[in-house]
Symmetry: C3
Subunit: 128 residues, 3 copies
Protein backbone atom coordinates (compact mmCIF):
# COMPACT_ATOMS: atom_id res chain seq x y z
CA UNK A 1 0.00 0.00 0.00
CA UNK A 2 1.25 3.46 -0.88
CA UNK A 3 0.28 6.57 1.06
CA UNK A 4 0.00 9.99 -0.57
CA UNK A 5 0.15 13.09 1.64
CA UNK A 6 -2.15 15.84 0.44
CA UNK A 7 -2.33 19.43 1.68
CA UNK A 8 -5.67 21.01 0.94
CA UNK A 9 -6.08 24.74 0.58
CA UNK A 10 -9.67 25.72 1.39
CA UNK A 11 -12.82 24.44 3.03
CA UNK A 12 -13.64 22.89 -0.34
CA UNK A 13 -10.77 21.94 -2.62
CA UNK A 14 -10.57 19.44 -5.47
CA UNK A 15 -6.96 18.38 -6.12
CA UNK A 16 -5.91 16.45 -9.21
CA UNK A 17 -3.83 13.49 -7.95
CA UNK A 18 -3.71 11.51 -11.21
CA UNK A 19 0.04 11.81 -11.76
CA UNK A 20 0.80 10.86 -8.16
CA UNK A 21 -1.47 7.80 -8.37
CA UNK A 22 0.23 6.83 -11.63
CA UNK A 23 3.62 7.05 -9.91
CA UNK A 24 2.36 4.96 -6.99
CA UNK A 25 1.05 2.32 -9.40
CA UNK A 26 4.56 1.98 -10.82
CA UNK A 27 6.10 1.75 -7.35
CA UNK A 28 3.57 -0.95 -6.44
CA UNK A 29 4.49 -2.82 -9.61
CA UNK A 30 0.95 -3.08 -10.92
CA UNK A 31 1.28 -4.30 -14.52
CA UNK A 32 -2.11 -5.62 -15.55
CA UNK A 33 -5.23 -5.44 -13.43
CA UNK A 34 -6.69 -2.65 -11.37
CA UNK A 35 -6.02 -0.61 -8.27
CA UNK A 36 -8.03 1.12 -5.56
CA UNK A 37 -7.50 4.66 -4.33
CA UNK A 38 -9.06 4.87 -0.87
CA UNK A 39 -9.61 8.03 1.19
CA UNK A 40 -9.32 7.37 4.96
CA UNK A 41 -11.37 10.43 5.98
CA UNK A 42 -15.06 11.09 6.62
CA UNK A 43 -15.21 14.70 5.39
CA UNK A 44 -13.25 14.14 2.18
CA UNK A 45 -13.81 11.83 -0.77
CA UNK A 46 -12.61 11.07 -4.27
CA UNK A 47 -14.09 11.32 -7.73
CA UNK A 48 -13.09 11.04 -11.37
CA UNK A 49 -14.02 13.99 -13.55
CA UNK A 50 -12.70 16.43 -16.15
CA UNK A 51 -9.01 17.30 -15.95
CA UNK A 52 -8.98 20.03 -18.61
CA UNK A 53 -11.17 23.07 -17.85
CA UNK A 54 -10.88 24.20 -14.19
CA UNK A 55 -14.38 25.68 -14.53
CA UNK A 56 -15.74 22.12 -14.34
CA UNK A 57 -14.34 21.71 -10.83
CA UNK A 58 -15.60 25.17 -9.89
CA UNK A 59 -19.08 24.22 -11.17
CA UNK A 60 -19.01 20.85 -9.37
CA UNK A 61 -18.11 22.38 -6.02
CA UNK A 62 -20.60 25.24 -6.40
CA UNK A 63 -23.45 22.90 -7.32
CA UNK A 64 -22.59 20.54 -4.44
CA UNK A 65 -22.66 23.50 -2.04
CA UNK A 66 -26.11 24.44 -3.37
CA UNK A 67 -27.33 20.84 -2.88
CA UNK A 68 -25.82 20.44 0.59
CA UNK A 69 -25.39 23.89 2.20
CA UNK A 70 -22.82 24.30 4.97
CA UNK A 71 -25.51 25.67 7.28
CA UNK A 72 -28.65 23.62 7.75
CA UNK A 73 -30.71 21.53 10.12
CA UNK A 74 -27.69 19.72 11.56
CA UNK A 75 -27.06 18.45 15.10
CA UNK A 76 -23.48 17.16 14.86
CA UNK A 77 -21.48 19.33 17.24
CA UNK A 78 -18.51 19.88 14.95
CA UNK A 79 -20.77 21.73 12.50
CA UNK A 80 -19.37 19.93 9.45
CA UNK A 81 -22.25 17.60 8.62
CA UNK A 82 -22.45 19.00 5.09
CA UNK A 83 -18.89 17.79 4.54
CA UNK A 84 -19.82 14.30 5.77
CA UNK A 85 -22.69 14.06 3.28
CA UNK A 86 -20.66 15.40 0.36
CA UNK A 87 -17.98 12.80 1.16
CA UNK A 88 -20.57 10.01 0.93
CA UNK A 89 -22.04 11.46 -2.29
CA UNK A 90 -18.62 11.44 -3.99
CA UNK A 91 -17.52 8.16 -2.41
CA UNK A 92 -14.58 6.89 -0.39
CA UNK A 93 -12.73 5.14 -3.21
CA UNK A 94 -12.29 4.81 -6.94
CA UNK A 95 -11.22 1.76 -8.87
CA UNK A 96 -9.03 2.20 -11.97
CA UNK A 97 -7.99 -0.40 -14.53
CA UNK A 98 -4.26 -0.70 -15.24
CA UNK A 99 -2.59 -2.04 -18.37
CA UNK A 100 1.15 -2.20 -19.10
CA UNK A 101 1.66 -0.30 -15.85
CA UNK A 102 -0.47 2.64 -16.95
CA UNK A 103 -3.76 3.84 -15.48
CA UNK A 104 -6.50 3.33 -18.06
CA UNK A 105 -8.48 6.56 -18.14
CA UNK A 106 -10.56 8.37 -20.72
CA UNK A 107 -9.02 11.36 -22.49
CA UNK A 108 -10.59 13.94 -20.22
CA UNK A 109 -10.52 12.01 -16.96
CA UNK A 110 -8.49 12.87 -13.88
CA UNK A 111 -8.62 11.61 -10.27
CA UNK A 112 -9.61 14.34 -7.84
CA UNK A 113 -9.17 14.27 -4.08
CA UNK A 114 -12.27 16.08 -2.76
CA UNK A 115 -11.75 18.17 0.38
CA UNK A 116 -14.99 19.31 2.01
CA UNK A 117 -13.75 20.47 5.46
CA UNK A 118 -10.31 21.95 4.93
CA UNK A 119 -7.77 23.20 4.86
CA UNK A 120 -6.13 20.12 6.35
CA UNK A 121 -3.34 17.63 5.92
CA UNK A 122 -4.90 14.55 4.33
CA UNK A 123 -3.99 11.16 2.86
CA UNK A 124 -4.94 8.89 -0.02
CA UNK A 125 -4.13 5.20 0.21
CA UNK A 126 -3.37 3.16 -2.92
CA UNK A 127 -3.57 -0.61 -3.02
CA UNK A 128 -4.43 -3.43 -5.39
CA UNK B 1 -18.17 -15.10 -0.60
CA UNK B 2 -19.62 -14.42 2.84
CA UNK B 3 -23.22 -13.32 3.39
CA UNK B 4 -24.26 -11.09 6.28
CA UNK B 5 -27.91 -11.04 7.32
CA UNK B 6 -29.06 -7.60 8.39
CA UNK B 7 -32.36 -6.67 10.06
CA UNK B 8 -33.21 -3.02 9.54
CA UNK B 9 -35.40 -1.11 11.94
CA UNK B 10 -37.05 1.79 10.13
CA UNK B 11 -37.80 3.14 6.70
CA UNK B 12 -34.35 4.73 6.84
CA UNK B 13 -31.70 3.05 8.97
CA UNK B 14 -27.92 3.22 8.82
CA UNK B 15 -26.34 0.19 10.51
CA UNK B 16 -22.64 -0.02 11.35
CA UNK B 17 -21.43 -3.38 9.98
CA UNK B 18 -17.68 -2.76 10.33
CA UNK B 19 -17.05 -5.45 12.95
CA UNK B 20 -19.05 -8.02 10.99
CA UNK B 21 -17.15 -7.24 7.79
CA UNK B 22 -13.87 -7.54 9.70
CA UNK B 23 -14.93 -10.97 10.97
CA UNK B 24 -15.91 -12.03 7.44
CA UNK B 25 -12.52 -10.89 6.12
CA UNK B 26 -10.85 -13.23 8.61
CA UNK B 27 -13.12 -16.12 7.64
CA UNK B 28 -12.33 -15.48 3.97
CA UNK B 29 -8.63 -15.53 4.81
CA UNK B 30 -7.87 -12.15 3.25
CA UNK B 31 -4.35 -11.28 4.39
CA UNK B 32 -3.09 -8.56 2.07
CA UNK B 33 -5.13 -6.90 -0.64
CA UNK B 34 -8.66 -5.60 -0.64
CA UNK B 35 -12.25 -6.74 -0.42
CA UNK B 36 -15.62 -5.69 -1.74
CA UNK B 37 -18.80 -5.33 0.29
CA UNK B 38 -21.71 -5.53 -2.15
CA UNK B 39 -25.37 -4.82 -1.38
CA UNK B 40 -27.75 -6.98 -3.49
CA UNK B 41 -30.72 -4.62 -3.15
CA UNK B 42 -32.05 -1.66 -5.15
CA UNK B 43 -33.49 0.36 -2.26
CA UNK B 44 -30.50 0.00 0.07
CA UNK B 45 -26.84 0.90 -0.34
CA UNK B 46 -23.59 1.20 1.56
CA UNK B 47 -21.31 4.05 2.55
CA UNK B 48 -18.29 4.75 4.71
CA UNK B 49 -18.68 7.59 7.19
CA UNK B 50 -18.17 8.59 10.83
CA UNK B 51 -18.48 5.83 13.42
CA UNK B 52 -18.25 8.03 16.54
CA UNK B 53 -21.04 10.61 16.91
CA UNK B 54 -24.49 9.18 16.03
CA UNK B 55 -25.59 12.72 15.16
CA UNK B 56 -23.58 12.39 11.95
CA UNK B 57 -25.79 9.53 10.76
CA UNK B 58 -28.87 11.45 11.88
CA UNK B 59 -27.69 14.47 9.87
CA UNK B 60 -26.84 12.34 6.81
CA UNK B 61 -30.25 10.69 6.70
CA UNK B 62 -32.10 13.96 7.34
CA UNK B 63 -30.20 15.80 4.61
CA UNK B 64 -30.73 12.93 2.16
CA UNK B 65 -34.48 13.04 2.90
CA UNK B 66 -34.46 16.78 2.17
CA UNK B 67 -32.63 16.20 -1.12
CA UNK B 68 -34.80 13.28 -2.21
CA UNK B 69 -38.20 13.51 -0.49
CA UNK B 70 -40.26 10.34 -0.11
CA UNK B 71 -43.19 12.02 -1.85
CA UNK B 72 -42.55 13.59 -5.23
CA UNK B 73 -43.18 13.41 -8.95
CA UNK B 74 -42.74 9.64 -9.11
CA UNK B 75 -44.51 7.07 -11.32
CA UNK B 76 -43.10 3.78 -9.98
CA UNK B 77 -46.08 1.89 -8.59
CA UNK B 78 -44.40 0.73 -5.40
CA UNK B 79 -44.02 4.34 -4.28
CA UNK B 80 -40.41 3.89 -3.16
CA UNK B 81 -38.59 5.73 -5.95
CA UNK B 82 -36.88 7.99 -3.43
CA UNK B 83 -35.27 4.89 -1.92
CA UNK B 84 -34.03 3.78 -5.35
CA UNK B 85 -32.33 7.14 -5.94
CA UNK B 86 -30.79 7.30 -2.46
CA UNK B 87 -29.39 3.79 -3.02
CA UNK B 88 -27.68 4.95 -6.24
CA UNK B 89 -26.37 8.11 -4.56
CA UNK B 90 -24.70 6.10 -1.78
CA UNK B 91 -23.65 3.26 -4.09
CA UNK B 92 -24.00 -0.51 -4.22
CA UNK B 93 -20.54 -1.40 -2.93
CA UNK B 94 -17.47 -0.21 -1.08
CA UNK B 95 -13.91 -1.36 -1.53
CA UNK B 96 -11.64 -1.59 1.51
CA UNK B 97 -7.90 -2.28 1.64
CA UNK B 98 -6.76 -5.11 3.93
CA UNK B 99 -3.34 -5.58 5.53
CA UNK B 100 -2.28 -8.34 7.92
CA UNK B 101 -5.90 -9.49 7.89
CA UNK B 102 -7.22 -6.15 9.15
CA UNK B 103 -9.47 -3.70 7.33
CA UNK B 104 -7.51 -0.51 6.68
CA UNK B 105 -9.78 2.35 7.71
CA UNK B 106 -9.24 5.87 8.96
CA UNK B 107 -9.71 6.52 12.67
CA UNK B 108 -13.27 7.76 12.38
CA UNK B 109 -14.44 5.52 9.55
CA UNK B 110 -17.09 2.82 9.78
CA UNK B 111 -19.00 0.86 7.12
CA UNK B 112 -22.72 1.59 7.17
CA UNK B 113 -25.44 -0.47 5.55
CA UNK B 114 -27.95 2.14 4.32
CA UNK B 115 -31.60 1.09 4.46
CA UNK B 116 -33.94 3.42 2.55
CA UNK B 117 -37.14 1.32 2.35
CA UNK B 118 -37.33 -0.70 5.55
CA UNK B 119 -37.80 -2.24 7.87
CA UNK B 120 -36.73 -5.40 6.04
CA UNK B 121 -34.50 -8.40 6.23
CA UNK B 122 -31.44 -7.59 4.07
CA UNK B 123 -28.04 -8.95 3.08
CA UNK B 124 -24.51 -7.73 2.44
CA UNK B 125 -22.18 -9.88 0.37
CA UNK B 126 -18.43 -9.86 0.99
CA UNK B 127 -15.91 -11.07 -1.57
CA UNK B 128 -12.38 -10.38 -2.74
CA UNK C 1 -9.91 -5.77 -20.68
CA UNK C 2 -13.08 -5.87 -22.73
CA UNK C 3 -14.60 -2.78 -24.33
CA UNK C 4 -18.33 -2.39 -24.86
CA UNK C 5 -19.56 0.14 -27.43
CA UNK C 6 -22.74 1.89 -26.36
CA UNK C 7 -24.96 4.18 -28.44
CA UNK C 8 -27.05 6.46 -26.27
CA UNK C 9 -30.34 7.89 -27.44
CA UNK C 10 -31.06 11.14 -25.60
CA UNK C 11 -29.43 13.78 -23.46
CA UNK C 12 -30.21 11.51 -20.50
CA UNK C 13 -30.40 7.78 -21.13
CA UNK C 14 -29.99 4.83 -18.77
CA UNK C 15 -29.10 1.66 -20.68
CA UNK C 16 -29.19 -1.80 -19.12
CA UNK C 17 -25.83 -3.44 -19.97
CA UNK C 18 -26.08 -6.40 -17.58
CA UNK C 19 -26.23 -9.10 -20.27
CA UNK C 20 -23.30 -7.57 -22.16
CA UNK C 21 -21.20 -7.38 -18.98
CA UNK C 22 -22.08 -11.02 -18.23
CA UNK C 23 -20.90 -12.01 -21.71
CA UNK C 24 -17.67 -10.04 -21.26
CA UNK C 25 -17.05 -11.77 -17.92
CA UNK C 26 -17.20 -15.10 -19.72
CA UNK C 27 -14.86 -13.92 -22.45
CA UNK C 28 -12.42 -12.68 -19.80
CA UNK C 29 -12.60 -16.09 -18.11
CA UNK C 30 -13.56 -14.73 -14.70
CA UNK C 31 -14.59 -17.77 -12.66
CA UNK C 32 -14.48 -16.75 -9.01
CA UNK C 33 -13.76 -13.24 -7.76
CA UNK C 34 -14.99 -9.89 -8.93
CA UNK C 35 -14.81 -7.51 -11.85
CA UNK C 36 -14.88 -3.78 -12.44
CA UNK C 37 -17.00 -1.98 -15.02
CA UNK C 38 -15.37 1.40 -15.63
CA UNK C 39 -16.82 4.31 -17.64
CA UNK C 40 -14.09 6.35 -19.39
CA UNK C 41 -16.21 9.51 -19.71
CA UNK C 42 -16.79 12.59 -17.57
CA UNK C 43 -20.43 13.23 -18.46
CA UNK C 44 -21.61 9.62 -18.11
CA UNK C 45 -21.47 7.17 -15.22
CA UNK C 46 -22.75 3.81 -14.09
CA UNK C 47 -25.09 2.58 -11.38
CA UNK C 48 -26.84 -0.58 -10.25
CA UNK C 49 -30.58 -0.30 -9.81
CA UNK C 50 -33.91 -1.95 -10.63
CA UNK C 51 -34.09 -3.91 -13.89
CA UNK C 52 -37.83 -4.64 -13.82
CA UNK C 53 -40.10 -1.58 -13.91
CA UNK C 54 -38.89 1.08 -16.41
CA UNK C 55 -40.67 3.69 -14.28
CA UNK C 56 -37.83 3.36 -11.77
CA UNK C 57 -35.32 4.62 -14.34
CA UNK C 58 -37.75 7.35 -15.39
CA UNK C 59 -38.09 8.43 -11.75
CA UNK C 60 -34.32 8.29 -11.17
CA UNK C 61 -33.53 10.49 -14.16
CA UNK C 62 -36.35 12.93 -13.38
CA UNK C 63 -35.29 13.31 -9.75
CA UNK C 64 -31.63 13.75 -10.75
CA UNK C 65 -32.67 16.50 -13.18
CA UNK C 66 -34.56 18.23 -10.36
CA UNK C 67 -31.51 17.98 -8.08
CA UNK C 68 -29.04 19.12 -10.72
CA UNK C 69 -30.85 21.22 -13.36
CA UNK C 70 -29.30 21.53 -16.81
CA UNK C 71 -29.39 25.32 -16.53
CA UNK C 72 -27.82 26.91 -13.48
CA UNK C 73 -24.98 29.00 -12.16
CA UNK C 74 -22.35 27.31 -14.31
CA UNK C 75 -19.23 28.75 -15.94
CA UNK C 76 -17.93 25.77 -17.95
CA UNK C 77 -18.07 26.85 -21.59
CA UNK C 78 -19.53 23.62 -22.95
CA UNK C 79 -22.68 24.18 -20.90
CA UNK C 80 -22.82 20.58 -19.67
CA UNK C 81 -21.73 21.04 -16.05
CA UNK C 82 -24.91 19.37 -14.80
CA UNK C 83 -23.85 16.23 -16.65
CA UNK C 84 -20.41 16.32 -15.01
CA UNK C 85 -21.95 16.47 -11.53
CA UNK C 86 -24.49 13.74 -12.23
CA UNK C 87 -21.64 11.52 -13.47
CA UNK C 88 -19.80 12.01 -10.17
CA UNK C 89 -22.97 11.39 -8.14
CA UNK C 90 -23.57 8.03 -9.86
CA UNK C 91 -19.86 7.14 -10.00
CA UNK C 92 -17.34 6.07 -12.62
CA UNK C 93 -17.33 2.35 -11.86
CA UNK C 94 -19.15 -0.52 -10.22
CA UNK C 95 -17.67 -3.65 -8.71
CA UNK C 96 -19.55 -6.93 -9.04
CA UNK C 97 -18.79 -10.28 -7.42
CA UNK C 98 -18.53 -13.30 -9.74
CA UNK C 99 -19.05 -16.95 -8.87
CA UNK C 100 -18.92 -19.92 -11.25
CA UNK C 101 -18.56 -17.40 -14.07
CA UNK C 102 -21.80 -15.64 -13.24
CA UNK C 103 -22.31 -12.07 -12.03
CA UNK C 104 -23.68 -12.19 -8.49
CA UNK C 105 -26.57 -9.72 -8.41
CA UNK C 106 -29.74 -9.40 -6.39
CA UNK C 107 -33.00 -10.43 -8.02
CA UNK C 108 -33.98 -6.95 -9.13
CA UNK C 109 -30.54 -5.56 -9.89
CA UNK C 110 -29.25 -4.53 -13.29
CA UNK C 111 -26.18 -2.55 -14.38
CA UNK C 112 -27.11 0.74 -16.06
CA UNK C 113 -24.86 2.90 -18.19
CA UNK C 114 -25.91 6.47 -17.30
CA UNK C 115 -25.75 8.98 -20.17
CA UNK C 116 -26.09 12.60 -19.04
CA UNK C 117 -24.93 14.51 -22.16
CA UNK C 118 -26.03 12.47 -25.15
CA UNK C 119 -26.81 11.24 -27.59
CA UNK C 120 -23.27 10.00 -28.15
CA UNK C 121 -21.19 6.95 -28.94
CA UNK C 122 -19.77 5.74 -25.59
CA UNK C 123 -17.77 2.92 -24.06
CA UNK C 124 -17.70 0.79 -20.92
CA UNK C 125 -14.47 -0.99 -19.98
CA UNK C 126 -14.53 -4.30 -18.14
CA UNK C 127 -11.54 -5.67 -16.25
CA UNK C 128 -10.70 -7.73 -13.20
Amino acid sequence: MKVLSISTGGRTDFINITARVQAAARELGVGEGSLTVFIPHTTAGITINENADPDVVRDLTTALERLVPWRGDYRHGEGNSAAHLKASLMGSSVRVLVSAGRLQLGTWQGLFFCEFDGPRQREAWIGV
